[in-house]
Symmetry: C2
Subunit: 717 residues, 2 copies
């Protein structure tokens, strides 16, 4: 009956409305309702002086103009080409500013890099002016979006002096999009890229995609799946890629592609793809030349090689360095980059899967060409609700390493669960590798603070599809947004990002912001609790990873089985990666290894990641492991219920469409959190042989029932 | 460079706009701009009196209210429960009207059927009132949409006296949607049905889908592909189907499913699906009971059996009657219907494919249970740009036959080509079968005018996907709309439908309506000309049917090969289906057969459908066949160019987003029309051995080039 009730209330309120708010992401540009704020903005913004005439300059102007028109209630704002009249916003790159304007910001240019911007309140022609500038037009565009964010969040703009530069060069989305428009691990519909209608049909979504990304500083996009298809490199597809590159260019976004290592065979007609074979190397050089002729600012290639069945240099007895450097030579003349993934593990390697990437890549440190950057997932397994940071971070000082986060929620409830990922990202970025002593955080490794590199980078596996709201769950938009903000500045606080996003997306009302921000922050720990508390990992159901499957043990590759990861038995549970086990801890710097190695000092949140402990192991709160585990599962369920309670009071602050959507989704999340708790506890109880502690709800179904559930058409698989 | 130019102009005009008009279909409810019309409506509509409180009544009221609010510029319209005050619109079903209101429309109720409505201007309480009523709430909703259409098209509403009833009972969309959300022959993105999030998440699109359909009188939807998957009949999916049924019900839309004939084996655990087996029959009876418990108004099953690899009764030595009647018994107790498709042909049957459906089904006339309706495609092959009407129409007088049209453009340029299909539908509906003498049109066969049946029906294979604009091409919305209008009344003129649709969707400006309506009308003949003129058919490329492939002759089944259909050789071209050939003409009534049988009397548009004629055959215009064929291809290209010229002048009348979209799509259509002409003429020229006549442009590529084109990821395949 629950679903019926929802349907009818939904019907009556909104059946004639159009879900346009959903589509606009954090660029709602709602009318400013606070009268004092409005008054301040009204007097500060009387005109726009636009200096510059490039396509990017025109975008800056149009964005500013249309945003102001919306936020200021159709106020007439004069567009000028010279500084005159009242209080203006002056936009233009360093070279296009006139000399008066240049002079007043001259000293600030020393504080920004190529992509950084300056927003400064100055007195010019006896009027208060706000100058937004940077070294080039894209930097100015970033400044414009940053300025608009001040307005969207109702910040004062009377005495601005902002200089801000991105700390990481390559801030990029990875689309695991296939040429048939399915998306591997996509939960928001299907691929935005309509290859059939490209190049001649330019969908408005491509433009809005570019806008959204530019607004948070994302400057690159890999259009295709890392499980790659060589056809994307054929002329037929390259002209389609070119059309997208043309759309994205004025927004400062470079296009990259995935390179299938066997492409020289599959589309080149060669007999081999051996990276040491001259015909192969030449084929890639010619291919690069062909691409750069169409797309002069093509970013480069992302490569998944010799991993999960993908071809690679090892097929020819070569190694990752040989493969990456061969491709690096092909794109180097054009300024291209090779992003080579370190996500490797082999079913023929009896070694702990968590150790294999480090074991294979660490010895390559310093051997890659300088236009290669190695892309490392945040943890050593695979985008779990929680993983300790990947041991490679800090362990390859002579090699630029880029972070790979997963924005799409493969293991975190698809687009149905509200999980605020910047909290997870922040935890990883703040993790201390100790590789150069205390304070060698992951963020400092990847932004080059410790070992400066020409290349720095951060990638997010996109959660974007052709759903009207882009991301399936309205709150999943925050994960795209937050990824972009952290890519720009990995030291930002995820709570501030949530605050910003909520204001831009929903409302500035404090009665809304405070509780909903708390809900978002709590959401990450909630999903850990109801899925994989205390360091458990990879116990999702087979293949599609939808729902619990701790019992799965029949997959062809041992390290794909949940039982491989939790190792529950009569004696206890957890994967012993300490000295007494696989000694994975030894891949970390000594100080970190010491902490992880001892179950007493190991953070309890990572306990079962690093240790196999008895069901009676005493947790810090005095509970036995079994009771503590069960209570954690229950806590996760309770947290989702709290999220529901919070949300149910928010109807008065926001539009009914999005309110209802989130309400329905939280109801599903609550159901599924219960499912996770019941299925996992029933399964583990077989080994612990213990009763559920007081406070944990009794399962309403049997273990057999949960094991019988099948999802042959779960999305993204 | 063309595409670059487009991109940039596109960028500058609309990058901050949101494509919301695209989404709203023909329910734009734009503000009335004509002052006289506005004045008239303003005084005629001062309030709404709503009688009735069902969910459907509430929808009628809300739709009316919000539409009026938009069209009348936020005019305050009072909602009342009694007739009082000024000039009102009174809505309510026969029983819910008060006695005063009932009295003034009493005589009109005799003129409508269950789904018909009355819209009447009357004097009540000394005021001009407009009563919208019908026998039930859904009929009233139809009346409301019809009334709103008067307003949308700026028609006078001062002296209304409209009675209108649908002429066909079952007006239904067939969605060829798979459970993984791919759509067979879908070119507008992917399936609307998000099975993963159902039943608990009710997407706003489901509601808007129901609205759009109700607004044109569609009263049924088959959710799943005719190439069926038995899983849809499992409890896990049925609860999702139930959720959709709950959304659609108040809009008067019944849900139907496709029944995979082997479901008793696949999900029922039986050893057979033999329709004469009692356990099988009982399994279906139980399944029907289970479905109707969840969905009391479930419509029934659509079945594709023993066709293109689908299982069916013939697997057990039974026939279509056995299969259909067994299922009919299962749903009969609940008022359910079986729609049994006649689209059958066998690779083991050496007979002309065009003859097989008739040969198999005609002898079954009168043998089906009375809740079975046989669904027949409009032509004997498969949804070609032009086919003569299917010989079964009129040939099974004792059996209700329903029409199956294809709204999705499988063979007509996907969602890239602008082709106005109601013109095609009208041609079929007006075709004279002569089965009961002159005037026995197809329309009169299917609406039961000649042989009254309890069941009458018309199905359209949907062109709807999750693209923001629903149908991929803005003008493909007209095909959905037009199908609905013709399903309601198969005697409507396609030109009037185009007029109506353009006004509701774009503008009432005559300078826009006249040329664009002409463009739409011309578009159907254009596609015939540049793809398959003079009766050619099924010469599209393999599998995906994208682009020309007259050379294809290597498919496993002979009747899937284009060469099977055109039979071009040194002597001529065309499929001889006359007495001297396969004698398919004999399947028509004598008068029709006579016309088709003689190449001199056969309509030239069907010439090569029925006859193999020499390259020198003299056409009515004096041209040889070869020259005439080549000139027809050229004419098609020229017609697309004219469409472009027309459209390029329309920018001042409509929004820039849709203008640009259509402009880009017409550019693609023009390119592809050229591709069709060049590829086909180069290919056929090998046989004719003749030069292209004056007036036909020279091909710019070789035949080998056209043959080399491959589209491995063409959508919808």
């Amino acid at each position: 009956m629950t679903s019926l009730r929802f349907i009818f209330s939904f019907l009556l309120i909104s059946f004639s409305a159009f879900a346009q708010k959903d589509y606009k992401l954090w660029l709602q540009y709602d009318k400013i309702t606070n009268p004092e704020v409005f008054q301040q903005y009204n007097s500060a913004i009387e005109g726009i002086v636009s200096m510059g005439s490039s396509p990017t300059s025109k975008i800056s102007l149009s964005e500013l103009e249309s945003a102001l028109r919306n936020m200021m209630g159709d106020k007439k704002i004069e567009i000028k080409s010279r500084i005159e009249g009242g209080n203006n916003i002056i936009i233009g790159s360093k070279l296009s500013l006139n000399s008066d304007a240049q002079k007043v910001v001259a000293s600030d240019f020393g504080k920004i890099n190529d992509e950084g911007f300056i927003i400064k309140s100055v007195l010019l022609k006896n009027k208060q002016q706000i100058i937004i500038t940077g070294n080039n037009d894209v930097a100015v565009l970033y400044g414009v979006y940053s300025f608009l964010r001040l307005l969207q969040t109702n910040k004062p703009i009377t005495n601005l002096s902002i200089v801000d530069s991105p700390k990481i060069n390559i801030r990029i989305l990875n689309h695991w999009d296939n040429l048939d428009r399915t998306i591997e691990r996509g939960y928001a519909g299907f691929s935005l890229w309509n290859w059939q209608k490209l190049p001649d049909f330019v969908d408005q979504r491509y433009i809005d995609y570019a806008r959204a990304n530019a607004s948070i500083g994302i400057n690159g996009t890999v259009l295709t799946n890392v499980n790659a298809n060589a056809l994307i490199l054929t002329p037929q597809y390259l002209e389609k890629v070119e059309a997208l590159a043309n759309v994205f260019r004025p927004y400062g976004i470079k296009v990259y592609l995935t390179a299938r290592f066997s492409a020289p065979i599959e589309i080149g007609g060669l007999k081999t793809a051996d990276p040491k074979d001259v015909t192969v190397a030449n084929w890639w050089k010619d291919k690069a030349k062909e691409i750069y002729k169409k797309i002069p600012d093509f970013g480069g290639f992302l490569v998944k090689a010799n991993s999960e069945g993908q071809p690679g240099p090892q097929n020819y007895g070569r190694d990752h360095v040989d493969g990456a450097n061969m491709l690096a030579d092909a794109v180097a003349p054009f300024g291209g980059v090779i992003m080579w993934r370190a996500f490797v593990y082999s079913e023929h390697d009896a070694n702990d899967r968590a150790k294999q990437a480090y074991a294979e890549f660490q010895p390559y440190d310093g051997k890659f060409k300088d236009n290669v950057i190695v892309q490392v997932k945040n943890g050593a397994i695979d985008f779990q609700p929680r993983e300790p940071f990947h041991p490679l971070f800090g362990a390859m000082p002579k090699t630029p390493l880029m972070m790979e986060f997963q924005i799409t929620q493969e293991y975190l409830g698809f687009s149905t669960h509200l999980v605020y990922l910047p909290k997870l990202f922040q935890e990883v970025l703040e993790s201390d590798t100790y590789q150069k002593g205390k304070g060698t955080t992951v963020a400092k490794v990847i932004d080059g603070s410790f070992n400066p590199h020409k290349l720095t980078g951060i990638a997010g596996v996109a959660n974007i599809g052709n759903d009207i709201n882009w991301t399936g769950h309205p709150f999943a938009q925050a994960n795209w947004y937050g990824f972009g903000r952290l890519a720009w500045n990995p030291y930002l606080d995820s709570e501030s990002i949530a605050d910003e996003w909520l204001r831009c997306t929903f409302s500035n009302n404090e009665n809304f912001i405070k509780p909903v921000k708390e809900m978002m922050i709590q959401s990450r720990e909630a999903v850990v609790n109801y899925m994989t508390p205390l360091g458990l990992h990879h116990i999702m159901d087979t293949g599609h990873h939808y729902g619990p499957g701790p019992w799965v043990s029949n997959l062809s590759r041992p390290e794909w089985n949940p039982t491989y990861y939790h190792k529950a038995d009569k004696n206890g549970i957890g994967f012993d990666r300490s000295k007494t086990g696989t000694n994975a801890t030894a891949q970390y710097a000594l100080e970190a290894a010491k902490i992880f190695d001892n179950p007493e000092t190991c953070p309890e949140q990572d306990l079962l990641w690093f240790h196999h402990v008895s069901w009676d192991f005493k947790l810090k709160n005095g509970q036995t492991l079994w009771n503590g585990l069960a209570l954690k599962y229950q806590e996760g369920v309770n947290q989702v219920q709290e999220m529901q309670n919070t949300w149910n009071n928010m109807d008065k602050y926001i539009d009914k469409d999005r309110f209802k959507e989130v309400q329905m989704l939280l109801e599903i999340q609550y159901k599924e959190a219960n499912w996770w708790r019941d299925a996992c506890l029933l399964y583990f109880q077989q080994y612990s042989g213990k009763e559920l502690p007081v406070g944990v709800e009794k399962p309403t179904q049997t273990l057999e029932y949960f094991k019988s559930l099948k999802f042959p058409y779960a999305p993204g698989n």
